[in-house]
Symmetry: D3
Subunit: 290 residues, 6 copies
Amino acid sequence: MTDPRFFPPRNFAALPPEHSDYARSRVVILPVPYDSTTSGWVGAREGPAAIIDASENMELYDIGIACEPYRVGIHTLPEVAAHTGSPQAMVARIEEIVGELIDDGKFVVTLGGEHTVAVGAARAQGRRIPGLSVLAFDANADLRDSYLDSPYNHACTLRRILEVAPVVQVGLRSAEREEHDYIRERGLPFYSPPEYRRLGPQGIADRLSDSVYVTIDLDAFDPSQVAAVGTPDPGGLLWDEVSELLATVARQGHIVGFDVTELAPALGPRANAQLAARLTYRLIGLAVRE
Amino acid sequence: MTDPRFFPPRNFAALPPEHSDYARSRVVILPVPYDSTTSGWVGAREGPAAIIDASENMELYDIGIACEPYRVGIHTLPEVAAHTGSPQAMVARIEEIVGELIDDGKFVVTLGGEHTVAVGAARAQGRRIPGLSVLAFDANADLRDSYLDSPYNHACTLRRILEVAPVVQVGLRSAEREEHDYIRERGLPFYSPPEYRRLGPQGIADRLSDSVYVTIDLDAFDPSQVAAVGTPDPGGLLWDEVSELLATVARQGHIVGFDVTELAPALGPRANAQLAARLTYRLIGLAVRE
Amino acid sequence: MTDPRFFPPRNFAALPPEHSDYARSRVVILPVPYDSTTSGWVGAREGPAAIIDASENMELYDIGIACEPYRVGIHTLPEVAAHTGSPQAMVARIEEIVGELIDDGKFVVTLGGEHTVAVGAARAQGRRIPGLSVLAFDANADLRDSYLDSPYNHACTLRRILEVAPVVQVGLRSAEREEHDYIRERGLPFYSPPEYRRLGPQGIADRLSDSVYVTIDLDAFDPSQVAAVGTPDPGGLLWDEVSELLATVARQGHIVGFDVTELAPALGPRANAQLAARLTYRLIGLAVRE
Amino acid sequence: MTDPRFFPPRNFAALPPEHSDYARSRVVILPVPYDSTTSGWVGAREGPAAIIDASENMELYDIGIACEPYRVGIHTLPEVAAHTGSPQAMVARIEEIVGELIDDGKFVVTLGGEHTVAVGAARAQGRRIPGLSVLAFDANADLRDSYLDSPYNHACTLRRILEVAPVVQVGLRSAEREEHDYIRERGLPFYSPPEYRRLGPQGIADRLSDSVYVTIDLDAFDPSQVAAVGTPDPGGLLWDEVSELLATVARQGHIVGFDVTELAPALGPRANAQLAARLTYRLIGLAVRE
Amino acid sequence: MTDPRFFPPRNFAALPPEHSDYARSRVVILPVPYDSTTSGWVGAREGPAAIIDASENMELYDIGIACEPYRVGIHTLPEVAAHTGSPQAMVARIEEIVGELIDDGKFVVTLGGEHTVAVGAARAQGRRIPGLSVLAFDANADLRDSYLDSPYNHACTLRRILEVAPVVQVGLRSAEREEHDYIRERGLPFYSPPEYRRLGPQGIADRLSDSVYVTIDLDAFDPSQVAAVGTPDPGGLLWDEVSELLATVARQGHIVGFDVTELAPALGPRANAQLAARLTYRLIGLAVRE
Amino acid sequence: MTDPRFFPPRNFAALPPEHSDYARSRVVILPVPYDSTTSGWVGAREGPAAIIDASENMELYDIGIACEPYRVGIHTLPEVAAHTGSPQAMVARIEEIVGELIDDGKFVVTLGGEHTVAVGAARAQGRRIPGLSVLAFDANADLRDSYLDSPYNHACTLRRILEVAPVVQVGLRSAEREEHDYIRERGLPFYSPPEYRRLGPQGIADRLSDSVYVTIDLDAFDPSQVAAVGTPDPGGLLWDEVSELLATVARQGHIVGFDVTELAPALGPRANAQLAARLTYRLIGLAVRE
């Protein structure tokens, strides 16, 4: 329906069918409203709907990168149903769906939900792309081997992803001592905001391979810019810093997919969902230019 | 898509395509996120999305009326775009769209937005159905001939509807003296909650014709049950009273369409949107039984 | 200024100067944004502004009592400054101001703020009107002799008022045992909602003298109707019950002044402030009919 | 510490050690901040802390039942850790802990969290008390055999409890058709609010055995009184109705334990937590009188 | 009234009559609670009251510019009534009122409400002051010729203002492609935050004429500092940057009036209204020094 | 109880008894939920509980200072009861309690509540430690000799503290002219954020003695990072700036105690409480390293 008396349908960026039909779209948005293992404050399951709603309140020419990302086509899938039997089963479901979409030629954008959903998405990518590396934005180390009785707790996300690909992390400022020891012993390239500032975006990009999966826990941002997360921690990254790093990585290599997770919209102003929507849109523009 | 790994799509009652395709649906939901003339507290434009979201959090067998209303098919249209040139033009747009849908054989449920949207919907019905009467739920008289420089202000809704059909109003408890004089001079059947309780549901039904359009300004409810309106006023109707009246009217005559308006979700708890969703669903069940 | 291009100024009921000038007004609204002794949840100091704002969103013909209370003139004073030296000094300030206003021929409506403000207002009345009785709406006994080291804590309000006039209380459902014993030993006419329902409004009116001061702690209402108070307690009075009791008392005797206290607007929906505004307006209509 | 310069410690009802030490307490409060299977709106994991905080804002003489329930001693345990491996493992943990407490002679009050936590508590009781019956307050049937891939989803709670004891349910107004058929086919004593009103509290009490476990999903209440639940549904029970039924059951039989679940505090005003605290306190008073 | 027992009356900066009487005041605050054409999130009509309330919570010596702006006298007018007939009529009303005030020798500060209100204010200035230029702060281009069927939609604000005076814009980071093409084709001096940083405040001031009208859409600020706007967009200007630019412009030329618009207070913390109040106060200090 | 089936008890940092018993702890947290003299927006009394709750959502290895501050033992006391007789009496109570704790060998961390609580804490330190200096973070001068009729109003905090020790203040950007004159006349080392940036952390540290008490009014921070205060003012300090200054002071001298005050949690997102918790934890780590 392109009747001008109606607003466009509810989908990412409020696109009309010619830019959002599954068949004609290079990009698919996969919303995963799952937060069953969250240990901090609650509500990430409302993240995907909030990001999509905010994206409808967004102008479509992105001045920062001088392009209109929607032109490659962006299809919004229905929300993945929670598997409430166990987080392991939920991760397996996400891996399966993302895998099917990759095999169908799509660029998959996963919207969480808690960070755990990244495990399924990264596994699907890692098992298909040899030499994949992962760029993770996160305030927390997420390196526990198990937490609250589950290896699939959101506090274990990067530990699980490390099993399928090397990870470069940016934004780190909070951990348990065991996690810190693990980082030091193995020399993992996990960087705090001050370390990132010293290293610069090119310094990070140099540590990545040609094919990069990007996983974003929004708590990597400073809480002044994203307060709506379960574990906000002061001293985080700023929008311009994240944007510049993503642009550098996109220029140099090949971003194969990404996720944006942990937005718990009720914990902050709506502007936080708007940032997440703009971030998603910009990263599509950087990764999938026509 | 009926893949069990996904939640149903975002539409009224979260129905799968077999119960929500336009062609197979007897009922259409027309969301109208318009509130440009509101004089009280703000936010009715967010009502339609809140009602639809809440409807997805609703079980589909309605014990109160012992049926599953969704079985007649309920299609959710995209939101009507605001015509910001003037409220008159917006009312004309709604009348036009509702008219097209009626002519296409649909039972139209309009979700406001401010009560003004009812003028367009009632006009489309009134010009097609001879002998139509209107049952209005409202806390306010809405009988000003013009307000804030416009005859299409939401404070004039029932005055405008009276031009196309006789109106029986229930829930009245707030007016300006001029409106009260207007009611008394013309002997309009406008009833306060205590008057309604004396008269009983049958007493109201007896004042209606065979074909009834129902227009609901949610401020008719007591603010304990619906606080999320721009002009809440204590001493309102209760859920059981409204339900019983609607059931009585549906048994006796023919409900040809209805609207549910003035939900401003940010002004009350989410439970208010849930009530509006349940009310919409129940009224579909009462009006369009298989 | 009666320029129709402007909304009326911010004052109770948004009245133009001809109905709100001090000299021409029979009624004065005295806002007292004070809550320094509150022991429960916080925020009653924002009550007066919230009630006045809500009153501007109110139609001026009150159908329930069939009159336009504003016609006697209602002047809104600026807010009384908090005396932060001690609650005793604050109570003295309120007593002084209310006394001056009474002596100037005004009917004084005090808007709290915490219930403590009623002590000053009731004292000013009690010391001027022989034989005064007090009708108190309250969920709590408020009969402690001292609380948190002060005899002017809001938990001592009715104990202090009892020192100047006999009190009939309605709405009681929460107390410490010492307070309950005090009530029983002295045979104080303090009634729970079920007791009030058995007794009826006339039963209460019969216990009052000809001159009645009314003090309303909004927690007397059921939290479904007023949640925005520091100590909400289930099982309270309903709007229709309070309205009927006030009408009965007004018919029989002489209401000399009143206060409405303890609205903490951030703790409930805006509709709660609207109820408080409507209650204030109705009680003006009942007490000061032309 | 009974230093009068300090407020009492944070525990249920803010009790000093002499009324809250584990050893001297007949009652234990077991907070279970778990909501991993929730399908509606989110946040029940914040329920226990909100109820306990509200209980500190409560006067301790309960006028409605004329007693001071705290005198039997009420000990507040730390919060049960979420087992995020699976809801089945979480239910097993709760059953184990409740069982240990029962075996230690305690009266156990479980505070949810989602309604699933009741399965563990009811099982622990059912396996120890022959002839136990269960009185359930709920808006939903909760009779699915499995939901979102788990038999321990909160939508299956009463189905699981039925496996250990017969259930009488009050408050029903929402179900899927399969659940409704299941009720009718087996003649389960599940009652809607209108049915309860016809039957009366004694009619319910007559259907229970001598030993009764009470499980309360707060959505049984009308949303005007409790909006802060994940699936609010209009037409619910009122405080006075629930109170009277509980008093009737307590007079007639033996209440062996209970739970209060599904408060999601961010979804409604704080007054909802206060009702839950008062309900918990009153039910202790009814069940464990000295 | 300068009775020390009362707080000052409700007006901008809570000034006593000697600093706020119309006759003695050089500055008038014109609140315009209008938001009928808003396309994003809702609530700018509550902006003026929120800014004025916040201004009462502000100390009056501004350390940043070392002066007490209130000494020139600041009078707060009542709120302009919404003309709900059409936005065109509303703009005409604002132009008329602002014109009358200018002709009466006042420095006019317009508080929105949506950005559309600036059209009326800028027209009144532009038609009186030859050679006027406009400095606009905005995240959006606002250059559509018509939007949602109206040339007076808030998305057309700068297009309409361009018809009366040249505009220099700062803060741009969001547009449709057509707007971007329009900017490029005509070489409009519209600058994104990074472009502003390169150019510096003097670079902007050099592009302005001697008489400058300043129009501020608060979404020019970074959402970390102002989240309470309908279309927040990351990557915005910071308080220190805006302050420095305003000081530079004020030093060099003559600021003839200004507006502060688009604050939708419910969408962010109260601190956002405080920033808007402080911004208004500082700009008065810069523009109208004694 | 170290049963792994339970979360740790509610105390600062959620520490088990071995790290939080009074006897074994070097640090005590003293929560003071007092805000009776607040003149701006309300709610600082809810600050201590919010900070403690947030601290339980915090990982315990602080990467920024590379240590685990909890290892010195942190005991959380119950909340100090409000003395509602007068702020003077309340300040005396705090001084008394803090003094007893110092005399018992503890490092005392006071959590406000309004800034007034710092007067009691600073006095207790100043009277025991010769040569003490005070480092104050504050947006306001707090130098009034009396305000709202009390010398113990929170607007007088630094004036009162100056009576026991010299004060260096950082963050100043708001004052009345009298306060500004007082600063200039006496040459008080009170610095605005730009002045601090010019001076650098070492420049501040050089103005302090060897023994430093730190008092933090959180409104010193920029409102983008801490909006939840009663008098937010733009142009404040950033987390990294405050952290660096505290680290510099801790390296050079001896921090003998500190307070964190004025968090009014309802006025901003929860992330603000998290910042306050992290700040408290970091300052413990800096001041009391093993």
